[in-house]
Amino acid sequence: MRDVAIVAFAQSNCQRDAGAQNEVELIMPVLSEVFKQTGIKSAQDVDFTCSGSCDYQQGAAFAFVAGVDALGAVPPIKESHVEMDAAWALYEAWLKIQMGHAESALLYGFGKSSPGELPIVLSQQLDPYYLAPLWVDTIAFAAMQARTMLDSGEITEADMAEVVARSRNNALANPHAQLKGDQTAADLLKEATYVSPLRLHDCCPISDGACAMIICTIEKAEEWGKPYAIIKGIDHRIETHHIGSRDLSRSVSTEIAGEAVGVKNGKVDVAELYAPFSHQEIILKKALGLGDDTVINPSGGVLAGNVMMASGLSRIGEVAMRIIRGEATRGVAHATSGPCLQQNLVTVLEAK
């Protein structure tokens, strides 16, 4: 596989409710920012554009069509869309670059979850005949997963609170974070449970926002004269939808993807893991074989702000920007989708 460079990344602030702002208004600022970082003017200056979004978040078909309006696609552009997190849009573009049909690509993800009740909305992501009619929401599923881990003695509630305390503390340095603070794990454990055994702080917040990224061949990055981080490997895997058929304390699909991209083939300075619930960070850390010498979620992760359909791409962008700033030389970024980490994408990034 040829190396692919990440040259630009921008994300909006994670806000609980973007109010009357529509998709175009959410997307345009991050597009302008990545164009500026790259030194280009428009979507016509890259070879391919791909986005990620989900219609049900805002509650209308074709959310992505509004997104195209933000691109100014006149004259027409080569463009595609995944009904997934934009991390998979990055994967589609990465394939285009591998096959030589593009030298550069613009990616963006956006989500406006505020109009509905997100956990309940996402229950309609389940098997429509056997599970969706029960309206089991995402929090209930995650609570079940946490319960199995607590019952087996693999984790304690204090371990979960430690994850949250670190996320909130790290988020103090992240201007885009929605939830931040200097609480200790002991403080957090004093709070009441929300959906047992989860406390509210074990669950990611609901956020509106967008992010964008520009990737290209190494040759193109050199031509643009911009600093960049290199995608050394990227892989995504899915596993069974049936919760009862899975060992919920493991993420087998993350293990396979992590192995495929060679996470363990070098020291990992930094990792951004898409863990919408505190205990899932522990599962992912184990699945990727990350040690205590890896800084995990220095941005605060999605527990500090979770723009669904953008958060996965943002994890990759967060690691890339740290590498570009010289704060790390090798990092891992992860994205997830589906109930209890059903689908996962892992990428290894390195400095040039």
Partner: protein, 387 residues
């Protein structure tokens, strides 16, 4: 450089109004198993699954690929979900091809589907968008004024649409999988059918169908070993433009023109009418045949209807460039799958596997899909020859 890739297996369900006998998973699996059998393969031979469908509101299931993982034998494998509106079936095939053309994967399964009977597409297409005027028009209401403008500009006879409606249904009568089976259809019957959206009559519109289409795409080495003839992918292209902007040409959209030029250049097509043996083009409303004949360069601007009226696009009349020998979208329209059916039917023609609707000796064929407000395009050219 892009690696050579080919379609080595095709599977389609029977298309009909309601597939009450199967779940969504059962329907999708039926197409996938058909493609595997056609390619002489089993689930373990597949490296990844790329799935496409139109808006999730058509079935009321968010990201149904998550639930379809098990039915598609995808546990532990990569799964990607494409959604580009009506063009999605074609876009999905193109994204799926890129898994192989990139050299990253050897052989993949791609599936597109719609089970429209689970919901109401008219509603799902017309629900109010936040902060936008509510059109409440559905697809036919949206496209009818554009068709009227085409008729005004081209001075086309009023019955060019009627001719397409009859022609595609006579083609569909040769395809046992086609939803509408109307072997006795006549110009008069179409003309007498109720007017839905002036100038579109009931029989000039596509049906609402349940169904799925699947393809196996393999790299050069594996395709060469395949038991049946491969359909080599000679070119693939996508283009998008916004739904509305000042001065937008809606009758003959620039994105369609650009996309066709791109795919022809890749495939070495200089004169599409001469260099292609047949085409499967997304024509959900009759008048889009003459309009796309012009947009895709088969006829000069304003002259597409002359080709239609002359019988050039008719298989039953022995035309030189049959369009939609399978019966097309006018016979079967499981929306999310409709584009992939075009792409797969083009492949079947050059593989010589199209059965009673086979175009004799077809070597090179085009598949086409469009979506949104005629703003998203995907096209590919396949051939029995590698180069």
């Amino acid at each position: 450089m892009a690696q050579l890739a080919a379609v080595v297996g095709v599977g389609q369900t029977k298309y009909k109004t309601k597939r009450k006998d199967v779940s969504i998973a059962g329907m999708v699996r039926e197409a996938a198993v058909g493609a595997l059998e056609d390619a002489g393969l089993t689930w373990k031979d597949i490296d990844a699954v790329i799935i496409g469908k139109a808006p999730d509101m058509f079935e009321g299931v968010i990201m149904p690929e998550l639930y379809l993982t098990d039915a598609l034998g995808c546990n532990g494998k990569p799964m990607l979900r494409v959604h580009t509106a009506g063009s999605v079936g074609g876009s999905t095939a193109i994204v799926a091809a890129s898994y192989v053309q990139s050299g990253v994967f050897k052989r993949i399964l791609t599936v597109s589907f719609e089970k429209q009977s689970e919901s109401n597409a008219m509603w799902a297409l017309s629900n109010p968008q936040p902060f936008s005027p509510h059109l409440n028009a559905g697809a036919g209401g949206y496209f009818a004024p554009i068709i009227r403008e085409y008729m005004r500009r081209s001075n086309a006879p009023y019955d060019a649409g009627i001719k397409v409606a009859v022609k595609d249904r006579l083609h569909g009568a040769k395809n046992p999988l086609a939803h509408l089976q109307l072997p006795e259809i006549s110009m008069k019957e179409v003309e007498d059918s109720p007017m839905l959206w002036e100038p579109l009559r009931f029989l000039e519109a596509c049906p609402s169908s349940d169904g799925a289409c699947a393809m196996i795409i393999a790299n050069e080495e594996l395709a060469t070993k395949s038991p049946r003839k491969p359909a080599w992918i000679r070119g693939a292209a996508m283009r998008s433009e916004p739904t509305m902007y000042a001065g937008r040409e809606q009758v003959n959209p620039q994105a369609g023109i650009d996309c066709a030029k791109d795919v022809y250049a890749q495939a070495g097509i200089h004169n599409p009418r001469k260099d292609l043996d047949c085409a499967e083009i997304y024509v959900p409303f009759s008048w889009y045949e003459p309009m796309w004949l012009e947009n895709l360069g088969f006829a000069d601007v304003g002259k597409g209807w002359e080709l239609t009226m002359s019988g050039a696009t008719s298989l039953t009349e022995g035309g030189d460039i049959p369009w939609n020998p399978s019966g097309g979208v006018l016979c079967s329209n499981p929306i999310g799958a409709s584009g992939m059916i075009r792409f797969a039917e083009a492949a079947q023609q050059v593989r010589g596997e199209a059965g009673a609707h086979q175009v004799d000796g077809a070597k090179t064929a085009m598949g086409h899909a469009y979506g949104g407000g005629a703003q998203f395009y995907s096209m590919w050219v396949v051939s029995s020859e590698k180069a």
